[in-house]
Symmetry: C2
Subunit: 730 residues, 2 copies
Amino acid sequence: MKKIVTILVFISQTLFAQQHPIAFATKPELKAVFNDLHSNSLLNVSFKRIKDEVDPFLSKNIDVPFPKDAAGGYTHDQHKSNYLLMYNAGLLYQITSEKKYADLVKSIFLKYAALNPTLKNHPQATSSSPGRLFWQALNDANWLVYAGMAFDCIHDYLSVSERKQIADGAFKPLVEYFTKDQKNWFNLIHNHAVWACAGVGIVGIATDNEDYLKMALYGTEKNGKAGFIAQLNGLFSPDGFYHEGPYYTRYALLPFYLFANAIQQVKPSLGIFQYRDKILKKALDVALNQTNLTGEFYSYNDALKDKTYISNEVVVAIDIAWQAYGFDSSYLAIAKAQNRVILNKGGADISKKIIALKNVLTYQYHSAEYTDGEKGDFGGVSVLRNGKYNELASLIFKYTSHGLSHGHYDKLNIQFYDKGNEILQDYGAVRYINIEHKWGGRYLPETNSYAQQTIAHNTITVDETSHYNGKENIAELNHPNKLFGHIGNGSLQVASAFDDKAYSNVKLFRTEYLMKLPGTDKTLLVDIFKTYADSIHQYDLPFNYLGTLMKTNFKYTSCNTSLTTLGAKNGYQHLWKEAFANHVDPFTQFTFLNNKTFYTISSLTDDAVDVFFTRIGANDPNFNLRRDPSYILRSFGKNKTFINAIEVHGNFSPVTEIANNSVASLMSMVKLQDDEDYTAVEINLDDKKLYIIQCNKNFDSSTMHEFSNGQFHAKWNGPYYVEYNQQQLK
Amino acid sequence: MKKIVTILVFISQTLFAQQHPIAFATKPELKAVFNDLHSNSLLNVSFKRIKDEVDPFLSKNIDVPFPKDAAGGYTHDQHKSNYLLMYNAGLLYQITSEKKYADLVKSIFLKYAALNPTLKNHPQATSSSPGRLFWQALNDANWLVYAGMAFDCIHDYLSVSERKQIADGAFKPLVEYFTKDQKNWFNLIHNHAVWACAGVGIVGIATDNEDYLKMALYGTEKNGKAGFIAQLNGLFSPDGFYHEGPYYTRYALLPFYLFANAIQQVKPSLGIFQYRDKILKKALDVALNQTNLTGEFYSYNDALKDKTYISNEVVVAIDIAWQAYGFDSSYLAIAKAQNRVILNKGGADISKKIIALKNVLTYQYHSAEYTDGEKGDFGGVSVLRNGKYNELASLIFKYTSHGLSHGHYDKLNIQFYDKGNEILQDYGAVRYINIEHKWGGRYLPETNSYAQQTIAHNTITVDETSHYNGKENIAELNHPNKLFGHIGNGSLQVASAFDDKAYSNVKLFRTEYLMKLPGTDKTLLVDIFKTYADSIHQYDLPFNYLGTLMKTNFKYTSCNTSLTTLGAKNGYQHLWKEAFANHVDPFTQFTFLNNKTFYTISSLTDDAVDVFFTRIGANDPNFNLRRDPSYILRSFGKNKTFINAIEVHGNFSPVTEIANNSVASLMSMVKLQDDEDYTAVEINLDDKKLYIIQCNKNFDSSTMHEFSNGQFHAKWNGPYYVEYNQQQLK
């Protein structure tokens, strides 16, 4: 609490009625941007793009309609266009000094000053925090952020009475609605509230209203229990992991960075960018490292898969971070991919650096482990990687806490990406954002009925019931715990976690071993998933693979002429059973082709399993769900062990029409021991042997263990031992 | 027949025992290639790629295994690798004069000289033309083509006895097997036989065997009824349309070009490249113009969708065509995309031209109409286009004849591509080429049971029975006929065709109107499909759309908890019925999203229709089929008219999250007349009116027609009249 108090002292000394603009950038900074507009620079291209967007509206009468439509509808899109137009035109006024831009902004503001005082809750509001201009208050907060910066840009162009007219008419009704009627929402530690605080704070700075700024920083009660500083504390772990996951980090980064930038401008001595050991830089870095090769944020929690680091939010964050934290080659690589900058000092500087670049820069992904929770003690996520550039393989092992309303019931879930392709997917959310046809762009019911349920994930569902019984309030209180792990650049990376809260009567223990086998380029993932229970349960372990079935080592029955669902609830009602096999030998193999690479999932279970090939799409009357497949292993018992090996092998070239190594090298798996102390497995890959011995009880890193079974002997320290071709992997 | 006789005379004067090499290129040409190897040129990059492929084998003992495996298996891939290695090493020997390359080729040849005389039919042979080294004779023909060129390259390096040893041991058994045992196959007018002739002919040139060359040119009886010249006559229409369609053109181009090139080298006075009014250039040009923006060949008939003009066959054809026909900017654009050349004079010249290029070249697609059949009287295909570069929309209207064993029962089918995406697809073939897991890479049974059947296409299936009752021998004898059309650069393009043979009791009449609506960028396709019959039939018209359902203007019933098939045979057994609507109002609308663009199919039928939303996947025990959707209109009656409008509208940006124009502008369709003389329809697009009047009986281009219905009057010449916003479209 010490740091917060310090900042409170600083801010109380701030005297308002300062120079304008200041919220986004100052006049000298924008003058410098103007002087930096050279022909081919990213800065100039970005400037022209904005000019091209704004200029056609200069002579137009801009519509400020009475709110009526949900997302994707006319009034929604118009108000969204308006705030972007005002912001862009405001910036152009400052950069070019051409009054026509200021005049455009003023004319729109005067319409909002007339409209906003007349608004009640939006007619299409279905959310618990209804908006006024838009169907949800979140969008009204977006409006405040951009309109606030626009006002700041034309502040000095307006007469005193015009300023008052806009401040009282356009801003005050929304600010009061937020800080009085929607006080509880405004005071949440949640990404919507970050937007709300940024909006109210930026409007405070633009209109010289210190009271607004204080509420934005410290909550409506101004006691620091809510507001922006509390959000900086509460929404990130000490590592910078954002509680809602990477897709929402991207979204939250924008108000965090825009408002921090404004605070920094108004009172640089507060050192907001240094706060919590540079928590905002960490947050950006963690978000960037949680993207696929092609830029998409990892799709765990409620994520839309087409969102990449090209998106506007990340452009803003990168360019402000550059200004705040200085040179960073990874930011440069992302900025190059983004192919645009914002019109601030950071954007101008990046633009110059990119022109001077000699070599192609690519973002350097690295293995990492991020804790979750304000204090870093609410589980976390491990990102294990093999290979470089386009050959990168990434395993995401998730043992985070729930992540608020957009969290999924997915404890100990894994996702696997290879060569930029999703191999084992997390479905993400069921939503067509801003497409009116799809329930006005809202989250669709199948997000909850399917995508959030455990069976939609690559982790175990017990007795066809989701983790925490699918109850968010219980999920929010709990999380798995990391047991042991190893991140590095060697041939082996490990992550292990344990959960005893997702089910009241079953404990889950899962460990991932990602290997680059020496002497080959082969990526092999071994996944040991153990359950502990006192009574018999049904365990379903799905592999939500993307690709085409090539081969299985077992016979199955195909449902040729009629399909039924795999179950009736908790997501099972959305799965068609396309094929199944009952009581299959414990060693199962399934090969599929994704793009031009083969993948084989080999599994060894304690005894015979049932296997299902399913496809999403049942109980989907509005065709909201993708028709993606899954491969599900089902086992019955108390304590069970699934040992799964996912082998990346071969490739198919459509040009030469040659398929190399389409058959897996994994020939067999033999369990050497599996009890409360150890799980030991021998895996035969062509003529080589791989041994994995895992401690199931003692995870101390310095304890010495010994294992011997006649042929094979090992002696090691710590919770696991891995040996390939008579060489220990580390 | 006159031209053939001329060529016969020429060839009989040819005296053999000439200089070597000559089949691919002469010594001076290859010397010139060597002198042109500059650092960054495509030529040098291509040379190095070949050198990098060959060099690792120089010190190796190359395996020439006894044939055992089907496609994708070891012995198959090894023999394929071997002939490419021999060919490449032979070329390298000529270019670099380094004897180690010649020695490598010789050592492999000597093994084949020992192996080939011992071979009987391949143990995995299932085709009617079994191979010896490979499972089908086609692959043996590939071997002959490349091995022939390789021998030619090292001809002068070999001693006379070595030449004889190889000619008698490696070549003769295969040539005799082809020209005696497989004589009927060799004498076919079919792409496999083109390969066979090219192989035997090139071996003839390389080994100075005039008899081989004569059989290759004129068939085993040397009477011109078979062989390469007959294939040049029989497999292309006068326009250069290849009888089996674009995917197989690509494949056939390679032996056509390689062998023609060899003939040209041996006897340039024959003028083979000028034959039939430059039929080989036409064939290449027609093939290139039948590709999607991203290079994939249109997928009608048995096509694999990932084959593009980047493939080796087209590289060879482009570079030989450049040498034969001279500068062509479209070849340069394709060569640039291919990013490699072959090591001949054409490749060297293209490489120089590309270095000198100032601007980005893109292949210029154009609307075109191609006749089918040797005389151009077996129907054809119209390719109608709108827009340029990445905005290109392409409609393929197919009224060709069957196209041999790889043809589909798809009379009057349409395919629609937009912005490089498939919107209304032709499934293509069901095959995973050379992937051993999938029946050794052969065509899978679902090619016939689903992909070739009429219901897999965007055309009418009558009474759940495929065209010609699915009988290839009947299909081969028949074809639809073009009625009228208009190709150009204006706002309207038209193609109309008629079929009375696909069904004995129903006549089909379909007309496509592709429009670029003046004053907008909107692409609108209107499709008028009429049936004529004496008794009542069931008409199913599918739209095999790719995308996600957004909206319908009718209520439907979703099959939520169980699925059944749409039918029991002729492809229907592979379709799951996901949703249906019975007796829907005659004006139906269905909007879907494909990538970032919306598409709405609006249909007006004579009376109520049934609608089905289906998905492929039933009766697919080996998971060979893609789970693609279809939207099917079903109508019962005698004479029926389906008027369908496919509107391309709006876009969704995942970056800005804004969806523009997600609602179609087409509001309603009103039939003004529909009888044996005319079909007239009024289509309301927002506040504009579109009228289409089509003559159903008189297709004469100069006849004057008049139409009036009180509000609307028109007077025009020819078989149709189209007016939008009071302006005639042409």
